[in-house]
């Protein structure tokens, strides 16, 4: 379980989403650990544009062949962009979870909420415990 890619410079929550802050825009996806747990992602139900989400509130849904899972917003904000490429290529969540597998962007964020999240090192320790 230690061979997951957990890059620095972004934040993680306990539900295994990541968020990258660029100025006043936050980009959200699921971690490498999450995509591995999900197995083959076959469907992503993206959030509606303009949807207002709270920190740790449900934002969208990701489905593997076998299961349906909620994706939670690591920080609060308003959905300003969604990755429509996932509609035809949901497998990008598995192939490139931090790149082309991103899910949605938020504006109107309060970056102080990142204080409630984990950095890469903390998240690595968190998933190491989860594995036991």
């Amino acid at each position: 379980m230690s061979d997951h890619n957990i890059p620095d410079g972004i934040f993680y929550n306990k539900e295994h989403e990541w968020v990258k802050i660029d100025g006043d825009v936050a980009t959200v996806g699921v971690s490498d650990y999450a995509q591995d747990l999900l197995t083959d992602v076959v469907f992503v139900e993206l959030p509606q544009m303009g949807k207002v989400v709270k920190q740790f509130g449900p934002a969208c849904v990701v489905e593997s062949v076998k299961s349906v899972s909620d994706v939670y917003a690591p920080i609060g904000g308003t959905v300003s962009e969604v990755n429509t490429a996932l509609e035809s290529a949901p497998e990008q969540v598995n192939n490139d979870p931090y790149g082309s597998g991103w899910m949605f962007k938020l504006t109107g964020i309060n970056s102080s909420e990142t204080a409630n999240l984990m950095n890469a090192q903390q998240y690595k320790e968190f998933i190491a415990k989860q594995a036991h």
Binding site: T39, V42, S64, V65, K66, V68
Partner: protein, 365 residues
């Protein structure tokens, strides 16, 4: 504490993702569920399904007991033949679906689902009390069951077998020696491909598992998890207990009408005759999604503003590249082409009734 098959460590060593399946710690996927699915359709896959139950019924009245328990008429069944049927309550609800293997007039094996084994046993033992000479023995705990499935299955199994497998026809079985081990093999399975089900003593589980994977490797044989098993069976419109069938549904409402011999006596027959006479209110159908989205168990099905049923199984179909499913609907809505709506997370999504099976099994083509 989850129960483990004799191959639990072997699955872990292969990196399988293990899940609780009816109280058993079982492999759901080894590497990639979709690849495992395609391996069975195109080459071969090996499944550990040792969690399933095996019940031996023997003695002078074995025939009479099985005939009373199982929906299908076994009068003309030859030794070496197997059949698929259901066991019902007096009310016509399904206790389980099962296969029956006839070894002799006084010896049968019933193969049942893992989750239903305790209820099955209770029912069978209760019924057996009327037959003093009949012995009911649960051999599940000492029996391993492997399914080798796919177009290459016969060729691979042949390398280890002491008989000519091409002579074993679909839904027949033989007691053979495989890699020196006494094994009951039937040409059957739950995937819609040619293949065999193997029953033998737990002591040889690791040996047979490893040996099959070894001799089948070059033909593309890989271990397959319960995830692939589910998508394979769904494509063939095969019922899964606890999803598509249960005590609240009758075999006539499910796809098991053909497995009910209403001209013989068995438990539940009177209720089924009455259902047939009154007309069925609901029936299981297959559907494919017209809109994006995957229908899952318990999602409501609508026709116009009225809820007309509920989804029992739903999945992406790796073979067909569509999202498919099954569910019970009002019996006037079962014609293929009928457009229904399925509510997915509060949103109505279009689906269309299609004939079952979605994928016609290889052995029926």
């Amino acid at each position: 504490m989850l129960k483990k098959t004799s191959l639990n460590q072997a699955h872990r060593d292969l990196g399988a993702r293990m899940v609780d399946f009816g109280g058993w710690d079982m492999p759901v996927v080894y590497t990639n569920q979709i690849e495992e699915h395609h391996a069975v359709r195109q080459k071969a896959g090996l499944f550990d399904v040792s969690h399933m139950g095996e019940i031996m019924i023997s003695g002078a009245d074995a025939f009479a007991l099985v005939q009373k328990l199982v929906s299908k008429d076994i009068t003309d069944m030859a030794a070496g033949k197997m059949i698929l049927g259901v066991m019902c309550t007096e009310q016509g609800g399904i206790i389980d679906d099962l296969t029956v293997y006839k070894y002799a007039d006084d010896k049968y094996m019933l193969v049942v689902n893992a989750g239903t084994l305790p209820a099955d046993l209770e029912h069978i033992i209760q019924q057996s009390l009327a037959y003093k000479t009949t012995v009911v023995e649960d051999i599940s705990d000492r029996t391993s069951k492997l399914d080798i499935q796919g177009p290459k299955a016969q060729e691979i199994l042949q390398r280890l077998s002491d008989i000519y497998l091409a002579k074993v026809k679909r839904y027949w079985f033989r007691e053979v020696t495989v890699d020196g081990v006494a094994i009951t093999i039937s040409r059957s399975g739950y995937t819609g491909e040619d293949g065999f089900e193997l029953y033998f003593d737990n002591a040889y589980a690791v040996q047979i598992w490893n040996k099959l994977l070894e001799v089948g490797k070059d033909d593309g044989l890989i271990p397959c998890g319960l995830g692939a098993r589910d998508t394979l069976r769904t494509e063939c419109g095969m019922m899964l207990y606890g999803h598509d069938i249960d005590l609240d549904h009758s075999p006539l409402e499910a796809v098991y009408g053909w497995a009910c011999s209403l001209d013989k006596n068995f438990i539940g027959k009177e209720a089924l005759l009455q259902q047939q006479h009154q007309g069925l209110k609901r029936k299981i159908v297959g559907f494919e999604m017209l809109d994006r989205g995957i229908a899952r168990q318990h999602y409501p099905i609508f026709f116009g503003s009225e809820q007309v049923g509920e989804v029992t199984s739903g999945t992406p179909s790796p073979t067909l590249g569509k999202n498919i499913g099954m569910g019970y609907v009002r019996s006037d809505l079962i014609e293929p082409g009928t457009e229904l709506e399925i509510e997915i997370r509060g949103k109505r999504t279009m689906a269309k009734v299609v004939a079952l099976p979605f994928y016609i099994p290889a052995y029926k083509r």
